[in-house]
Symmetry: C2
Subunit: 109 residues, 2 copies
DNA sequence: TAATATAATGTGTCGCACACAGTATGTCAA
DNA sequence: TTGACATACTGTGTGCGACACATTATATTA
């Protein structure tokens, strides 16, 4: 694939990553674990992308966090809020709509 | 839905609109017609979003354009190039991957 | 004991969606 | 016939988010 697609991959991440994070937060999770989970799903994320995304979501009340210092190493655990759940379902709705449109177009001649 | 989702809708458009445009260009089309086509598909686009997107795609050789002045009103018709087709299939691959991941996550637990 | 993995924060850049502004022609109703 | 609205574009400016680069600090492993 061409080098210029790099830019497009960035664009493709926008939106998708937000949904993905909100979806993964069905279970509480800390940032680094989420990076690894996403990679295990076969998708590449930058830590420099995910950490700010989580903080942004928190700043706006879609997720909340608390430090867990009981384990060997301090970890910031994130949980989704009710507002976050509402946002998630809204975004999933948009995603589904987009997906339907693409499928429809690619199908017809 | 919350007012802040507005921002997210913008983010959701990134990536999606690029694929959509490349997909719609299976047939030659001019900008304004594409705006209306997309709206007819039930999706809202700004002209201020679509026109620059088309120009950007052309600048990088994924589409090409020619003015049609034979009709009542001059129109800039866009057509996809071979490179554009390659890009489209690459982006569709990414989209599918993302879609599979989301479906998988939403299904489990 | 040095390298690597874990777990996070912060600053800076660049591209894109979209707001706002403007140009110009065609159509249609009052 | 004129004024509103649709059609069909171009161009500038702003703000936000992905990611590069830099840094801190502890745990694990070779």
């Amino acid at each position: 694939m061409e080098p210029e697609i790099g830019n497009f991959e960035t664009e493709m991440n926008r939106g998708f990553l937000q949904i993905l994070v909100l979806a993964l937060l069905k279970k509480e999770m800390y940032g680094y674990a989420m990076v690894r989970t996403i990679r295990d799903l076969g998708y590449e994320v930058e830590e420099n992308t995910l950490y700010p995304l989580l903080r942004r979501l928190e700043k706006n009340g879609w997720v909340r966090s608390k430090w867990d210092v009981s384990e060997d190493r301090p970890r910031k655990f994130y949980a989704i809020t009710d507002r976050g759940r509402a946002l998630r379902s809204g975004l999933l709705g948009i995603w589904k709509k987009q997906n339907d449109i693409l499928k429809r177009i690619m199908k017809e001649k």
